[in-house]
């Protein structure tokens, strides 16, 4: 049985793996094009939060110790990560739906290796994270968000896509564990906590001590600070970038481990 499985996997070479990933990405794109309404909440929610929080908490920049006088520039990276979190979590909900409807069983019964199936899902999520990101950046720049420079913008996009991957891996882990769309709030709450229990609202020196402690051990703080530097200072330094990249890579590795374990434990 094991030998037969090995033969099948071996026969499923790199070209077939790529074709599978491409097909899954295409399916996700088709969903987006055929049911554009389904993407609206993922775009609307972070945009409303961005506009609302800027209007409500904009005067926080008057506090001594705030490193910018434009709250929208301070907040935009948080909204980008929140948008990526929503889209990534939606990937988990979609997987749960596919499991409930039996479609995922057919994928599992195919000769495609499970890491390849997972790769298709998370790559789709990272690309879909660009949809709310584009909307947010358009709204943000029109409302006076500082221009981060090309390097700053590219870094923000990379970190947003990476966060989309983290969220999708988290969502898939829960979908594979619970096999039900009822787990959706847990998927969203997990990303909500990861993104917002950071320096989301204010620099670490201005947070309440308990939140400063949480933020200092939350890897997403480094990701947000790395994405924020361009919008706040107009430039990017390697010293502020690498901790964000390392933190994101660690999160992807950790979540990837759990998602792959979930895939391996699935029936078939």
């Amino acid at each position: 049985m094991e030998a037969a499985g090995a033969t099948t996997t071996a026969a499923f070479g790199p070209a077939a793996n790529l074709a599978t990933v491409r097909a899954l990405v295409q399916r996700s794109r088709n969903e987006l094009l055929r049911v554009p309404g389904a993407a609206i909440p993922g775009v609307l929610a972070p945009t409303i939060f961005f506009l609302g929080l800027t209007a409500v908490f904009g005067s926080l920049t008057l506090l001594p110790g705030f490193d910018t006088d434009r709250y929208q520039s301070f907040l935009i990276p948080v909204s980008l990560m929140q948008g990526a979190g929503f889209t990534g979590a939606a990937t988990g909900v979609n997987l749960a739906r596919d499991i409930e409807q039996g479609w995922f069983d057919r994928l599992l019964a195919s000769p495609a290796p499970r890491p390849v199936l997972l790769a298709g899902l998370v790559i789709s999520a990272s690309l879909r994270a660009l949809v709310p990101a584009t909307a947010l950046l358009i709204v943000g720049f029109s409302l006076g968000v500082g221009w981060p420079g090309l390097a700053g913008l590219a870094l923000a996009v990379v970190l947003t896509m990476g966060t989309g991957i983290v969220a999708a891996l988290w969502g898939c882990t829960l979908a594979l564990r619970f096999k039900s769309q009822s787990a959706a709030p847990l998927m969203q709450a997990g990303m909500f906590i990861l993104v917002l229990f950071t320096t989301a609202y204010a620099p670490i020196e201005l947070l309440q001590p308990w939140l400063a402690d949480v933020a200092s051990i939350n890897p997403m703080t480094e990701v947000i600070d790395a994405a924020r530097q361009g919008f706040v200072t107009g430039g990017v330094t390697w010293g502020e970038t690498w901790p964000g990249l390392v933190a994101l890579a660690s999160l992807i590795a950790l979540m990837g481990f759990f998602a792959l374990r979930g895939m391996a434990r699935s029936n078939y």
């Binding site: 908490f57 947070l207 939140l211």
Partner: protein, 263 residues
């Protein structure tokens, strides 16, 4: 006459109990009412807590005291939205048709749902008051203030629940009611739920000054941060009455239309 009233009250109580049970059994319905407002309260209190040092911020014992009312009203608005979704699901699944065929008052079907939403509103008020007290909030008006807060939140739940029910009855679609979810946050951000209007940026500050939700929030907040004045009480009560009259009127119209057209 009295027998009919008692029978209708029993129907309302049974449907209200069903609505509450349904919410506690489905994480998708419970999470927006309890988990997300609690997380947001923690994040905003921890992240923007130094706002109390800003010139012009009202005298408070702590930012948590100021934020409690906002969390309660957010939870109540989301409970109203969840109630609307659940009613729309009942319509989609044919459960409401079976109720309509039963020998009961048609409006008791809507009232049953609203009683459930009111119970969830009261639960959210108790939940946030308990959380506040555990984490150091002080309620200046004491026990009477707590009772007033629970009363205002419960009545608000009925008023907002009516809006959710009206949309559910008019559209008959859970996804349409769910689509209203982002609007909840628009209304919240354009009110004094999270920050004093004097310190908000324009044009949100001006909108918040006239948003009825701001009057309700101030009515719930006042007993926590100072003593409640008659003017604030009347403004809060008036705003709730206005929204309740509007939402129940819209629900009645939507129900009548549904009965006339059959969908």
């Amino acid at each position: 006459m009295i027998q009919r009233l008692v029978a209708n009250l029993r129907v309302i109580a049974a449907l209200g109990r069903r609505a509450v049970r349904q919410t506690f059994r489905r994480p998708q319905l419970l999470a927006p009412i309890v988990i997300f407002p609690t997380l947001l309260l923690a994040i905003q209190t921890g992240g923007a807590g130094r706002a109390v040092d800003l010139p012009g911020f009202p005298q408070v014992n702590g930012f948590l005291d100021f934020m409690l009312a906002g969390a309660m009203i957010q939870s109540t608005l989301l409970a109203a939205n969840s109630g609307g979704i659940a009613l729309a699901v009942d319509i989609e699944m044919g459960f409401t048709d079976r109720l309509l065929a039963a020998p009961i008052s048609r409006f008791s079907i809507v009232l049953g749902r609203l009683v459930g939403t009111a119970a969830l509103g009261a639960f959210s008020a108790v939940w946030f008051i308990a959380l506040g007290l555990i984490f150091g909030a002080q309620i200046e008006e004491g026990v009477a203030g707590v009772a007033l807060m629970i009363g205002f939140v419960t009545l608000s739940a009925i008023a907002f629940g009516g809006l959710g029910a009206a949309i559910a009855l008019r559209s008959g679609s859970a996804s349409v009611v769910q689509g209203m979810f982002p609007l909840v946050f628009v209304v919240l951000f354009l009110s004094s739920a999270f920050f004093p209007t004097a310190l908000m940026l324009e044009p949100a500050a001006s909108v918040a000054d006239y948003n009825p939700l701001s009057f309700i929030v101030e009515g719930i907040r006042e007993p926590v941060i100072s003593s409640l004045s008659g003017e604030v009480f009347l403004e809060a009560f008036g705003a709730i009455a206005l929204i309740a009259a509007l939402s129940l009127g819209l629900s009645a119209l939507a129900l009548r239309r549904r009965l006339r057209t059959g969908g």
